[in-house]
């Protein structure tokens, strides 16, 4: 086969330049606003002698209890002192105290938390015991004691607050680092020969950085509350020294006669607290976005094949999907499944094949009305048994379970771990049959027997974690059968299972299908599973159906270059030391779908006409379709290969 060699075909993707941290942060207006507020407050505090219009302690008895005016922008207090000047000077004490507490907290909590997590074992246990002891100390009493011992020193109080808080934050930082310790890149660094300290500093700590920043800003906000609260209670610098808390206390004394004074004094505390919290959120979000690929969204009205011609099956189909289009994001603007049409006849077993990004799972979920997140059907129809389902929540709810059932990839996550298997099955039976518990229990036992579980009574009494993965998948299948569905959608039902268990589950699905006559749609990437279980297969690529055919025809005579290439890369035919034919390149992401054939960039047979305009799905007769205009060349190569 004339596919390009694996090594030459890849260039690094030219798109998706990820902006730096600063650029991402600047895109968050709220966080930027919060930062500006904090910077202004800090600058004003630092440059208080220059910017404060009045001396904060000089009284002007001619101008007491004034509201805002040009002379006193924020008014004056009961002794005629300028409130703006007092707030600016007071910021030194309040913000300085907060900064001190945060620095003390971080200086203790970060090294302690990281060491406990990274060294682990006995060191971890000893550190965490100490942390527990510190956490049990009553904070307020200790802080008041520090004030008493150190002659009403706010500095001592803030250091105490930082030290006491460091215990709780050590725990938070420890768990953040523990999470990264299980990452494979940390294992890789260990194998590489990095020292534990190097791993901590280079890989574990930066990973926990987002958590540290967010926690530090939240702690700062909380500490501002403590600092101003203490000042309100007349701890710290004695009057007439300006403090934010002290000013609120003054304001509260004249609340009835001069309510205005509350607004600037309380307001500055509220604004500073809010700004610290919002800043933390912004930093965390910008930091997270930096290391995850962004998704770009392009308009919906892109390249769509003019008309998709689909020949309806001879029999009345059980499920008829026409031009199904699914979008994600804002109003479904990013199309991920593009005009997919197919029929499923009663009792038919059909494979829906594709690689990640092909849209196969999204299509399957849409058939159940279970699109998650921002996904929605933006066009086309889904008719089940003659009834239109697309866009009709009520219809979906009625059909789901009793008409169309679903089996997912991970049996263990499909079952509720806190509820016994029996209760989950009985619940499903009663939902569909509305029968008594006793009747439902009998039917649950029948269902477990139908999925060839040998000791149904014992399994009914078990919790999901007490049974094996294969057994759990049988239970999930039994539950799916509870509503006597006429169509089962099985999304990679055996991918998470061991091969020997997979063989059993596939055999089970086949026999259940024979017994009940229900149709099955197998969503899978495994050609072996398709070949052994399906009568017909639909191949998807980049959101489109590219080929459909009976299974024998599809595997022995593929009529789309993608199908052919995907079949060839199946490792079952490999020989020791020989290279497998590969496709080269990558599946284009939905934002980058080309105008013409979506496979053209990776296709050895592509010509200019392939790239120029959308390619329609063409009926080839004998119940086959293909979205390719180079079938002649494909057939010629096939003949050449066999001749």
């Amino acid at each position: 086969m004339s596919t390009a060699p694996a090594t030459a075909a890849f260039a690094t993707p030219p798109r998706r330049r990820i902006p730096g941290f600063a650029a991402l942060f600047l895109r968050k207006p709220v966080a930027v606003g919060a930062l500006v507020v904090l910077v202004l407050l800090v600058l004003a505090a630092v440059a208080a002698p220059l910017v404060a219009p009045y001396d904060p302690i000089v009284q002007d008895t001619s101008a007491t209890r004034q509201g805002p005016s040009l002379a006193h922008l924020l008014g004056t207090d009961v002794l005629g002192r300028d409130l703006l000047s007092r707030i600016i000077w007071g910021a030194r004490d309040s913000l300085g105290g907060v900064a001190l507490a945060v620095v003390v907290m971080l200086a203790i909590a970060v090294p302690v938390g990281v060491t406990a997590a990274y060294v682990g074992g006995r060191v971890d246990r000893v550190i965490m015991s100490i942390v527990d002891v510190v956490m049990s100390v009553p904070n307020i009493i200790m802080t008041l004691a520090a004030l008493a011992i150190f002659n009403n020193s706010m500095t001592a109080a803030m250091i105490t607050v930082g030290v006491l808080a460091s215990a709780a934050f050590s725990r938070i930082f420890r768990s953040a680092v523990l999470a990264t310790r299980r990452e494979l890149f940390v294992s890789a660094a260990t194998v590489m020969g990095l020292r534990p300290l190097q791993i901590m500093v280079r890989h574990a700590l930066p990973h926990a950085g987002g958590v540290v920043l967010v926690q530090a800003s939240l702690f700062a906000a909380a500490t501002l509350g403590i600092q101003t609260g203490l000042a309100f209670l007349s701890f710290g610098p004695p009057p007439p020294a300006p403090t934010w808390g002290g000013m609120v206390a003054d304001a509260s004394k004249v609340l009835a006669t001069h309510p205005w004074m509350f607004i600037p004094t309380g307001g500055v505390i509220a604004i500073a607290t809010l700004a610290l919290g919002l800043l933390g959120d912004g930093i965390r979000d910008a930091n997270a976005e930096r290391f995850t690929a962004p998704t770009r969204v392009r308009g919906l009205e892109q390249n769509r094949a003019a008309v998709d011609e689909v020949v309806p099956a001879a029999e009345e189909p059980l499920l008829a999907v026409r031009d199904l289009t699914i979008g994600f994001g804002d109003r479904g603007a990013l199309t991920v499944v593009d005009s997919v049409s197919f029929d499923i006849a009663p009792g038919e077993v059909v494979g829906l094949v594709g690689e990640s990004g092909s849209g196969k799972t999204v299509t399957a979920l849409a058939l159940l009305g279970l699109l998650g997140g921002s996904g929605r059907v933006t066009g086309g129809s889904i008719r089940f048994d003659g009834r239109e389902l697309a866009g009709d929540r009520k219809a979906f709810a009625e059909v789901r379970g009793s008409g169309i059932a679903y089996v997912s990839q991970e049996p263990m996550t499909a079952l509720d771990p806190t509820v016994r298997v029996g209760a989950q099955l009985i619940e499903a039976v009663r939902h569909h049959d509305g029968c008594s518990r006793a009747v439902a229990r009998r039917r649950a036992l029948e269902l477990l027997e139908a999925v060839r579980i040998r000791e149904p009574e014992r399994v009914l009494r078990s919790y999901p974690h007490e049974i094996s993965g294969g057994m759990a998948q049988r239970v999930v299948i039994a539950r799916a059968l509870a509503g006597r569905p006429r169509l089962l959608i099985a999304d990679e039902p055996t991918t998470a299972l061991d091969v020997t268990v997979q063989a059993e589950v596939l055999a089970l699905l086949r026999s259940v299908q024979r017994d009940t006559g229900m149709a099955i749609v197998f969503v899978t990437h495994d050609w072996g599973v398709v070949a052994e279980t399906c009568e017909r297969a639909l191949v998807m690529y980049a959101g489109q159906l590219v080929e459909s055919a009976g299974i024998d025809d599809l595997i022995s005579r593929p009529r789309h270059p993608y199908t052919r290439a995907l079949l060839a890369s199946d490792p079952h035919g490999a020989r020791r030391g020989e290279l497998l034919p590969t496709i080269g390149g990558t599946v284009p992401s939905p934002a980058d779908w080309p105008v013409g054939c979506r496979f053209a960039a990776r296709c050895p047979l592509a010509v200019d006409a392939c790239r120029r305009a959308p390619i329609a799905l063409v009926d080839l007769g004998a119940e086959r379709t293909s979205r390719c205009i180079r079938i002649d060349a494909l057939v010629a190569e096939e003949k050449g290969a066999t001749a």
Partner: protein, 272 residues
């Protein structure tokens, strides 16, 4: 007779402690000669990944030894063990967590080489060379892992593993998280690099079909013990142990069809 690069001698590994302690690997011995690939095959719970970790020194053996160039790695001093990092590298299953998402590809590639004493210029030129070898251009150095697909990341991981010119590579399910077509690319890359560089390789996999392409010898594991071992072709074409036979038989194959019987005949849910 060439001396093996890596040997496991009567290796046993326990997990848990106290009463919860249980043996997950028992009495496993094998040698890997220079330029040869040994595949460890088994289902979940067979202990194959644990053996790979023990060989890398990531879990301590409870009994037996792992030898590198004839020296017991558990008896090495920490500095000596770290120096082994130059000779011995790993490619893990999940390409998404194998690279530090906060470091550029260039940083990740240079780190092992710089750690083992390469100059910045030498390390950079080797990184470019290896990126080209795994099919990526040098522009990749400035990017972050999130900007690459799973297959591209796994190729970067392979390049990183080769930065220090190791003699021994452990691959733990290196392609099982990848799509079929990408899987073939990465397997081709590993197969040809192994031959070009004469690497000794321990290839851990649940998939006998994948193993066929790369391995010289196969060890089949069940519940932490070896059930069958031998040259790859012998095991794959003429398995002796019933468990190995079941493993091979159970894997779905393209050339085997289920008897297609149309379910349309049966009355819906006749028996239920």
């Amino acid at each position: 007779m060439t001396a093996p690069v890596v040997s496991a001698v009567d290796l046993a590994v326990d997990y848990g402690s106290g009463r919860a302690r249980r043996r997950v690997v028992e009495g496993v011995s094998f040698d890997i000669l220079p330029g040869r690939t040994l595949a460890l095959v088994g289902e979940s719970g067979s202990g194959k990944t644990t053996i790979g970790m023990a060989v890398l020194g990531l879990v301590p053996p409870s009994a037996g030894t792992v030898e590198f160039d004839g020296a017991d790695i558990t008896a090495l001093r920490p500095a000596e063990r770290r120096a082994l990092g130059r000779e011995r590298q790993a490619v893990f299953q999940d390409p998404y967590s194998s690279l530090d998402p906060r470091k550029t590809i260039g940083y990740s590639l240079l780190e092992p080489a710089r750690l083992h004493g390469a100059s910045k210029a030498d390390a950079t030129s080797r990184a470019r060379e290896l990126l080209a070898r795994v099919g990526l251009d040098a522009g990749a150095m400035r990017r972050y892992p999130a900007q690459f697909s799973g297959g591209q990341r796994q190729r970067i991981v392979v390049a990183r593993a080769l930065m220090t010119s190791p003699r021994f590579l452990v691959c733990d399910e290196p392609v099982s998280a990848l799509d079929l077509s990408v899987q073939a690319e990465v397997m081709n890359l590993l197969t040809s690099l192994q031959r070009e560089l004469g690497l000794a390789m321990l290839f851990v996999s649940h998939d006998l079909a994948v193993v066929r392409q790369i391995s010289d010898d196969i060890v089949v594991l069940q519940h932490g013990r070896i059930v069958e071992r031998g040259p790859a072709e012998d095991i794959l074409t003429d398995p002796r142990d019933p468990y190995t036979r079941r493993l091979i038989e159970a894997a779905p194959r393209l050339d085997r069809r289920a008897p297609v019987e149309s379910g349309k005949k049966g009355a819906p849910h006749a028996q239920l």
